[in-house]
């Protein structure tokens, strides 16, 4: 009986230690989330400006570029943006599941895996992984997005795929993210032409010329889209981890409460037993 009590106390202590760790991870995730949000915020003016220039190009000059040309789809590529680490609830499996669903409907599916979780997932399922990017780190750099973008565009231009989709978690708020997929290539023409907000700024002058600017701008725009996705994924990851660690911490608290109650009961039982033994012994002596 006393052995049982010791065992329970040992378990209480171990759960307490776990709770310390999950509580610390939660706080770390919260502060990283704040930083990630800040970075996402900081990148917005540029993304808007690039998009603005692109829209102006579309309005003022006919846009024609391989990136905008639809072609028969024999092979498709999905860029899957996940995290390297787990302990973030259903965060990664949600994205991977969205990816599988998307790829199921596409001919010739291939994958570029960003983050260890996507790589492992799609490798296990024997998908054709054409490239993988792990070790992005907590602070996404634009050059990382550029590296992915150049791989993607190289593939697209060499005919390795006819369509590229980007699957990533869209950051809704600290505890919610939603997996979304957007078509990266060919760039949806409607995206550019439809958005003709008619800024009414009049004719633009392009130097060297519209085609020249477009030539430089489009690859850049792909990088920007990927960069935004990486930033949102980071913020979402930290948010998901914060939520997961918060509930883990709360669960640990519940386990501790329950075990503590059990330990009291066991202790009380032991005492009662000892008393009854003593009383029994005394009665026997008197007899």
């Amino acid at each position: 009986m006393a052995e049982g009590l010791k065992e329970i106390r040992r378990r209480i202590n171990s759960v307490k230690n776990i709770r310390k760790i999950t509580a610390a991870m939660k706080m770390v995730a919260a502060s990283k989330l704040r930083r990630a949000q800040h970075r996402a915020e900081a990148g917005r003016p540029y993304a808007e400006a690039v998009r603005g220039v692109l829209l102006r190009l579309a309005e003022n000059a006919g846009v024609e570029h391989p990136f905008l040309m639809e072609r028969p789809v024999a092979a498709s590529l999905a860029v899957m943006v996940t995290s390297d680490r787990g302990l973030a609830g259903a965060f990664n499996s949600n994205i991977n599941r969205a990816g599988v669903q998307l790829l199921r409907g596409l001919p010739g599916p291939r994958v570029i895996a960003v983050g260890r979780k996507a790589r492992d997932f799609f490798r296990r399922r024997r998908y054709d992984i054409v490239a993988e990017y792990t070790g992005i780190g907590d602070e996404v750099r634009f050059v990382q997005a550029e590296a992915i973008a150049s791989e993607v565009t190289r593939h697209f231009l060499q005919g390795g795929c006819d369509q590229v989709h980007l699957v990533y978690p869209q950051f809704v708020n600290a505890v919610t993210s939603r997996p979304v997929s957007v078509r990266l290539l060919p760039l949806a023409g409607a995206d550019l032409r439809g958005g003709a907000a008619g800024s009414g700024e009049g004719e633009y002058i392009f130097e060297p010329d519209a085609a020249g600017v477009l030539e430089r701008l489009l690859p850049h725009y792909i990088s920007v889209l990927i960069y935004r996705a990486l930033l949102e994924a980071k913020a979402s990851e930290f948010g998901a981890r914060m939520a997961a660690m918060d509930s883990a911490t709360r669960n640990a608290g519940e386990v501790i409460d329950r075990l503590t109650l059990v330990s009291f009961r066991v202790r009380q039982a032991a005492i009662t037993k000892e008393i009854s033994e003593i009383v029994g012994g005394a009665t026997a002596l008197q007899g």
Partner: protein, 101 residues
Amino acid sequence: MAGVIGVQVVTPERLVWSGPAEMVIARGVEGELGVLPHHAPLITSLLDGAVRIRRPGGTELVIGTKGGFLEVKPDRVTVLADAAEVPEEVAAEFGPQEEEA
């Protein structure tokens, strides 16, 4: 003078500088160009180099830029650089460190 023009210098990672200016001088692929308020709308690719911003009051700010584009609207100039550095920030990073080791 015909007033001022709003200037914004942005890179993918951040907003580097924004404020009013009397004139902006940048190195476009077709040559150096100076932009005054009410300039015709223009979009140009930029060469590596410096964007010079003449601020109201006569001081000039030089921002080092790499690649990118310049968009001009009558009331607004946006420099979209791949990377950009403001002198004070460079000085803070590489200059003599005064406080603590």
